[in-house]
């Protein structure tokens, strides 16, 4: 079971969290300006990477706050945790956040 590093509560069992899918998918500021295909892109298209993914989690059974993780979808290793609105950290990742 994943050990998720909530930025506010510390490392907690995965069972306390809800998954929010890929991160950094901003709702278009002007939906009317998007055609159906572009609108579908926003609604449905995802990278679904095999490897590093930037994803969202919410600590539903705890502080109920959303945050981002950088995690490897093959090893499940969590490389970084960062707040909503921040950009994913770049570069080498050592140790556990």
């Amino acid at each position: 079971m994943l050990l998720i590093p909530c930025p506010w509560c510390g490392r907690r069992d995965e069972a306390e969290f809800r998954y929010g899918g890929e991160a950094h998918i901003a709702r278009p500021a002007d939906p009317a300006a998007r055609d159906d295909a572009a609108w579908a892109d926003y609604l449905y298209l995802r990278d679904n990477p095999k490897g590093l993914i930037a994803e969202r989690w919410v600590h539903s059974a705890g502080c109920r706050r959303w945050f981002n993780l950088l995690r490897d979808t093959v090893s499940h290793r969590i490389l970084a945790v960062y707040k909503i609105g921040e950009a994913p950290p770049r570069g080498e990742f050592g140790g556990d956040p």
């Binding site: 079971m1 050990l3 109920r64």
Partner: protein
């Protein structure tokens, strides 16, 4: 003579106490500390089971979880591994998978037809005719397969779950494990040491561990799974009391795997008879249980470890008829053997005899290249063949944690290569064997059936067949032959199977690799895994503050998610239809009371509360006056209706929105997700109030009078308290918020009080309403009343694919979640299914909900929709329904057919409102 094979002394058993047990109706004795296996062996019981496919007679091979054949039924519980069952007084075991008896099993016919039953035989036949497969062959195969019978009665045991954290989890209480635990504990680490056996170590070890306060010992505990983040799960056998097993969930900083090594079998013709045992197990029965597994033993080995066993046998005065070593040049350990012991280096056992108990083996010299046997066959009488084919480090947990294994040719075993972070292997588990290399001869090259996997009766020929048919990938061979797929996980035979496959495929063993290790390492009962999450504890039960009153009033309840809601309140002798009819008429004609406490309630406040709600709902909120209410509908961003409810403006920056019962949590989550992740610039606070307020909804033309008696300070005339307004006042002396919201279509007051006052409010209303004929009504009547008004219900008229436009709702022009999606071509097309009313031609016939709707009565008419809600309306005096019909709004007046239960019922499409379309009664 009792226990003829129990040694006069030795073993960690309590000889002063005698336990009585039965096997297949015969009575035996044993001692505390025995397993069922050691006790059976002590009593000379050799034949214990029948093998899975061929029903061959089998005995006890081992002393641990690797036991492939000795599975029995104890009481009502099947597939009990005799080596893992602690002997209890009064234990009654019977053999399984044999009929009519263990000694004379009809299933042994399969052994005679073994030629017709090679690996995968069932793929090659029974194709035609299909009926014969389905009605004859498959049922027969199913009956021949399986092992024990499922329990018939309820499980009397309870199972607990426990959770723990530690710095170091040490798995295995052997010397390496104890050393690791002591070392870590001495540095102050919190340590958990888990060991399968009920006791571990010598006295000195136990004292050393007891002296370390942060070291917790879990004996009788087997770690069976190691998951991400060093999260281990283990099952503890509880000694006495009502809890039979405890499931441990352990989050560890580091894991030390001191899981030891597993002895392998050798593969030679006749290697599965009762009396053929792992050499290490023979030693275990001697040392731990004081049991001789036979009187006259032959030791057959490819490595040094068996010589210690031979020495132990001789010390216990059991004759060692011979030591047979595959190696021409055995290592220095061979010098340990007794002087007079016949010694056969470079030889192999090539055959055995003794159907229900071993009585003889034959030995022959192995050719130099190991490819054949040569010379004379030497017969050796014996009742015990102690076999050692080498040792495999126990790396199941290591591999589960993504540890990489590599084949070590010198040790002839898979050993750990890279450890994942936070995991160490120590001792034998790390491949630290202090011995001369074994000889990895995977098959003794002599004629006759040689078993690789004893549990599933997989022979060396089966492996060769799999390779011959192209199943050269180890995972294909495993699935094709079922190698290693039994309850013993193939521990004693997998490596030989991999070795034989490699040879057949002309590939190195390292290149063939090993199949994936998966939890559980040992089989674990579903009861233990479920723990206390049974019955009432499997899902929380949610009840409103008025629940006890509803029960006492004889309400019939329905489950709505986790909630218990009254469905109707039958009087003595009433059917559901009668009760619902009475409740509806009371609501329409006089007064009725409904418990609406389960609806979600969320307070949305802050500077941007209105702006926020505007972005989510199809309707506006910013222009709602303080103290007024408005019905709102929310979509997901794909345009589909998600939830609805009535919102009330409590202040400039304060709203109270309601949600459907089922979606309360989901809507709050939705609000918070958008606020935190998309619109953090908005200042909005959301507070769940669902369980803070009870809601008693007073409904009907006399409701104003009833309320007036309880709320004398509140002006109730239409001008002072209009429809869709909210007032605060004391009702029955209780602080209340009153909302003139109507889901029934009648004059209606939703009266909210703090939850702890809910029952008092309810009782006060019941009392005040008595003179007016007030009755309580449940969800069923609630459904009928709202349906007569054409009010849709989320989850009934909608299923995640219905838009507000489909429901005939108007949406605002400003953007909101879902608006853009409504413009997509398929969501804007005219032929979409739309909400309509439906009136059966026969006004007395209620069409079933879920009936399919078709435009014409022909057999090939395509589906045009379905009936979503359908009732008999007591006030309108006829049956009616709501439904979704393709292009429905353009079809008012047309006939459609409802198809259900093989019948077609004509219905007329109409506007979805059947009662008081102007809303006069609601406006009161």
């Amino acid at each position: 003579m009792s226990q003829p094979f129990r040694l006069a002394s030795g073993g960690r058993i309590e000889r002063s106490r005698v336990l009585r047990f039965e096997f297949d109706g015969r009575h035996y004795e044993g001692h505390p500390g025995d397993t069922l296996a050691s006790a059976l062996l002590a009593n000379g019981v050799r034949l214990v089971g029948r093998s899975f496919k061929l029903h061959r007679p089998r005995g006890i091979l081992s002393a641990g979880p690797e036991e492939p054949s000795a599975l029995v039924r104890i009481g009502d519980e099947p597939n009990c591994r005799v080596t893992r069952v602690a002997l209890q007084d009064g234990l009654r075991a019977v053999s399984q998978h044999a009929w009519p008896s263990l000694r004379h099993d009809f299933g042994a016919l399969a052994d005679r037809c073994a030629g017709l039953l090679p690996a995968g035989f069932y793929y090659k036949t029974f194709m035609r005719p299909r009926a014969l497969w389905e009605h004859v062959w498959e049922p027969a195969l199913r009956r021949m397969a399986g092992l024990g019978r499922a329990p018939e009665g309820p499980d009397p045991s309870r199972y607990d779950h426990a959770h723990a954290h530690c710095d170091v989890l040490v798995v295995g209480g052997g010397p390496a494990g104890i050393a690791a635990a002591v070392a870590a504990g001495a540095q102050g680490a919190r340590v958990i040491l888990a060991e399968t056996l009920p006791e571990f170590g010598e006295v000195a070890d136990r004292d050393a561990l007891a002296a370390l306060p942060e070291v917790r010992l879990l004996s009788g505990t087997t770690v069976f799974g190691l998951y991400d983040g060093n999260y281990a799960v283990a099952v503890e056998e509880c000694a006495a009391g009502r809890v039979r097993q405890r499931l441990w969930h352990i989050r560890a900083g580091r894991v030390v795997l001191a899981t030891g090594a597993q002895e392998r079998m050798l593969v030679f013709p006749g290697n599965d008879r009762p009396g053929v045992m792992l050499a290490g197990a023979v030693a275990t029965y001697l040392a731990r249980y004081g049991v001789a597994a036979g009187r006259r033993a032959v030791v057959f080995t490819n490595n040094d470890s068996a010589y210690r066993v031979a020495a132990l046998l001789e010390q216990a005065q059991i004759a060692v008829a011979a030591i047979v070593d595959l190696r021409r040049e055995p290592g220095p350990a061979a010098r340990q053997r007794g002087h007079g012991t016949p010694f056969f280096p470079g030889h192999a056992v090539v055959a055995t005899a003794g159907r229900h108990a071993l009585r003889r083996v034959w030995v022959q010299r192995l050719a130099e290249d190991g490819g054949a046997v040569e010379g004379a066959r030497i017969a050796l009488d014996c009742d015990l063949l102690a076999v050692s084919g080498g040792w495999n480090p126990n790396l199941q947990l290591f591999a589960q944690a993504q540890g990489r294994l590599v084949y070590d040719g010198r040790r002839a075993a898979f050993v750990p290569a890279e450890a994942p972070p936070g995991i160490d292997c120590v001792g034998a588990a790390a491949g630290e064997f202090d011995e001369t290399p074994p000889l990895p001869l995977w098959l003794v090259p002599a004629p006759g059936r040689a078993f690789v996997d004893l549990h599933n009766d997989v022979t060396a020929d089966d492996i060769a067949l799999a390779a011959r048919e192209g199943m050269t990938a180890i995972e294909h061979t495993k699935r094709y032959t079922t190698l290693g797929m039994g309850t013993d996980q193939g521990r004693t035979g997998n490596l030989a199977g991999i070795g034989l496959l490699s040879q057949a495929a002309g590939r190195s063993l390292a290149a063939t690799g090993i199949t994936t290790f998966r939890p559980p390492v040992v089989p674990v009962g579903f009861g233990a895994i479920a723990g206390r999450a049974r019955g009432r504890f499997s899902d929380p039960v949610r009840e409103t503050p008025m629940h006890d009153w509803h029960e006492a009033a004889g309400a019939v309840f329905e489950n709505v998610g986790q909630w218990r809601r009254p469905r109707y309140y039958p009087l003595a002798g009433e059917t559901m239809d009668q009760a619902v009819r009475r409740e509806c008429l009371a609501a329409r004609d006089r007064a009725a009371l409904f418990d609406a406490s389960t609806l979600g309630k969320i307070e949305v406040s802050g500077r941007d509360a209105a702006r926020f709600l505007d972005r989510l709902y199809i309707n506006r909120w910013d222009d709602l006056a303080v103290g007024r209410c408005r019905y709102g509908v929310m979509c997901r961003d794909d345009g589909m209706v998600f939830d609805d409810g009535v919102g009330t403006r409590l202040g400039d920056n304060r709203f109270l929105v309601t949600t459907t019962t089922g979606n309360a949590a989901a809507v709050l989550d939705w609000f918070e997700e958008w606020l935190q992740t998309e619109w953090p610039e908005l200042e909005v606070f959301c507070t769940s109030l669902t369980e803070e307020w009870a809601n008693a909804t007073l409904v009907g033309p006399r409701s104003r009078e009833i309320l007036a008696a309880l709320a004398p300070g509140l002006a109730l005339d239409r001008a002072a308290f209009p429809f869709m307004a909210m007032r605060e006042a004391a009702v029955a002396g209780l602080p209340a918020r009153l909302f003139r919201i109507s889901f029934s279509g009648e004059l209606s007051y939703e009266i909210n009080v703090p939850a702890e006052c809910g029952l008092a409010l309810w009782e006060a209303l019941i009392a005040a309403g008595r003179d007016y004929g007030l009755v309580p009504y449940g969800t069923e009547a609630m459904h009928v009343l709202r349906a007569e008004k054409g009010y849709f219900m989320v989850g009934q008229e909608t299923d995640g694919t219905v838009t507000p436009l489909d429901l005939g709702l108007a949406v605002k022009t400003a953007d909101f979640l879902g608006r853009r999606s409504l413009l997509r071509s398929d969501l804007a097309r005219p032929g979409r299914e739309q909400l309509v009313g439906l009136l059966p031609d026969d006004p007395g016939e209620v069409v079933a909900e879920g009936a399919a709707l078709i435009a014409d009565a022909s057999a090939s008419a395509p589906l045009a929709g379905h009936v979503t809600s359908s009732y008999f309306g007591p006030r309108i005096g006829r049956s009616f329904a709501l439904g979704l019909v393709a292009g429905g709004r353009a079809r008012h007046g047309e006939t459609v057919w409802a198809a259900a239960d093989g019948r077609l019922t004509p219905m007329r499409v109409a506007a979805p409102v059947f009662y008081d379309p102007q809303g006069r009664r609601r406006d009161g």
